[in-house]
Amino acid sequence: MKAFRVWMAIIGLGVAGTSNATLYQELGAREGIERAVDAILVELKTDKRINGLFTETDFPYLRERLIEQFCFVADGPCEYTGLSMEDAHSGMAITGREFNWFVEDMEIGLKKAKIPLGTQNALLARFAKMHGEVVGK
C-alpha cells in the first residue's frame, strides 16, 4: 500500500501551486492572449485537415473575435461581440473529428505561445463546453 500512497502523492503534486489568479491573468492578459491567438491561427491555416473550413474567412476579423472570446471565456474584462457559437457554425456541419482537430491546433498554438499546460487545459475545458453548440450545426 505504501507504493500506492507515494503514487497518489506524485499525482497530486502541483496542486499546491494553484494560485488565485483568474485564467485571464494566467494566460498573460491581453498580450498573452494575442500571442496565443496568433499562434493558433498559424496552426489552423496550415492544418490541411481543417483549413478548408476557413477558405472564405476574414482572418483579421476572426482574430479580433477570438481575442475577445478568449478574454471573455477566461473571465477577463471583455465583451464578446461576435455571433453566438451556434450561429457562427450554422450550416457548416462541423464533425466531431473536426472539432477535435481544432482542439489539437489550439493545443499546439498555446504551447508555442508558452502558455503553461495547466492553463492550456483550463482554457480548453471551457471551450470544450461549446462542443454541443458547434458540432453538427
Partner: protein, 277 residues
C-alpha cells in the same frame, strides 16, 4: 510470432483513425478490450471517430515472482461506436509445485470480446461514456483446468463500463476515471477455468496525463474467488503509459496480483506495446 503479428497489422487494409484526441482510445487491456492494463474502459479502442475504422495489435507481458503471463491481441474499432477484439493469454505454470516434473507447462485461454458504446461521451456533454461489453473465454487446456478443479472450460463475462475524461482534472491535468462492473464466472481471467457460479465485481481506474503524451495512474480489479484449491485476490497496478503518437502506445506497470494458484504475494511488472497501421 511477435513480429508477424505486428507486420500483419501494419499492412491491414483499414486506415488507422485519427479523429480522437491523443490517448482517448485507451490502451489494449490484458484481455484485449480497450482500457487500462487490467480494466476495460467504456472507450472504443484506437483514435477512430465517426465513419472510421481502427485496427491495432498488441503484445503484453506480465512477470510476477513465480509466474509469467503473455498476451497477444488484435482489436478492431468502428466509428467510435463498436469494438471487437481477440486475445490469447498464456500463463506459465512452472511455479506450481506439482508441475515441477513438467517444466514449461503453459495454460492458454482465448478471449473474444465485443463492446458497444451505449451513449454519453468521454469528453463532451453532460454524461460519461457508457459501454456494455461481452467476453467469451475458452480454455485451450481443457484437461488441465478440469484437473485443477474448474467446473467448466469456457465462460462468458458481461460488463458495464462508464468513463469520463476531464480536460482540466487533477492538478489541471487531463484526468480519466473509469468504473466497470462485471459479472464473471472466470478463475484468474479463465486461465484456471470457470465456475458454475457467477459473481458481480467492481473494477476501477484513475489516470492523469502529466503531459500531452504521458499518463500515470492506478487500477483496481476485484475478481471472483470460487476455485476450491486456491484462493484468488483482487489485482492492482500502478502504470505509466506513453502515447508518442496515435499509432504507437507503450505501457509499464507495477502489478500486485495477490495469490495465484495457491502461491501468495505475486507482485511484478507489466509491459505492453500496441501498434496501429
Amino acid at each position: 510470432m511477435i513480429f508477424a503479428c505486428l507486420c500483419i497489422c501494419s499492412t491491414a487494409v483499414f486506415a488507422g483513425g485519427e479523429g480522437k484526441l491523443l490517448g482517448t482510445g485507451g490502451l489494449s487491456s490484458i484481455d484485449g478490450a480497450a482500457g487500462g492494463g487490467l480494466v476495460p474502459w467504456a472507450v472504443i479502442g484506437g483514435h477512430g471517430s465517426e465513419g472510421e475504422w481502427d485496427v491495432s495489435a498488441s503484445l503484453s507481458h506480465v512477470a510476477s515472482d513465480d509466474f509469467d503471463l503473455r498476451v497477444a491481441s488484435v482489436a478492431v474499432g468502428w466509428g467510435d461506436r463498436m469494438e471487437l477484439s481477440a486475445a490469447r493469454l498464456s500463463l506459465g505454470l512452472d511455479a506450481l509445485l506439482f508441475m515441477r516434473d513438467r517444466p514449461e507447462v503453459r495454460v492458454e485461454t482465448d478471449v473474444i470480446s465485443a463492446k458497444l458504446r451505449l451513449g454519453g461521451d468521454l469528453l463532451y456533454g453532460d454524461w460519461p461514456q457508457v459501454s456494455v461489453g461481452m467476453q467469451w473465454r475458452n480454455s485451450r487446456d481443457r484437461h488441465l483446468v478440469t484437473e485443477l478443479g474448474a467446473d467448466d472450460t469456457s465462460g462468458v463475462d458481461l460488463y458495464l463500463a462508464a468513463s469520463r475524461l476531464w480536460l482540466d482534472g487533477i492538478a489541471g491535468r487531463r484526468t480519466l476515471a473509469n468504473l466497470t462492473v462485471r459479472s464473471s464466472a472466470s478463475h484468474q481471467l479463465g486461465l484456471l477455468g470457470f465456475s458454475n457460479a457467477r459473481s458481480i465485481r467492481a473494477e476501477g481506474s484513475l489516470a492523469v496525463f502529466v503531459s500531452r503524451t504521458i499518463a500515470i495512474g492506478a487500477e483496481y480489479k476485484s475478481k471472483p474467488d470460487a476455485l476450491a484449491f486456491a484462493s484468488e485476490d483482487e489485482w492492482k497496478d500502478l502504470f505509466i503509459a506513453w502515447f508518442p503518437n496515435k499509432d504507437w502506445h507503450f505501457a509499464v506497470a507495477y502489478v500486485d496480483l495477490g495469490s495465484i494458484g495457491g502461491i501468495d504475494d505475486q507482485t511484478g511488472y507489466y509491459f505492453s506495446v500496441q501498434g496501429s497501421p
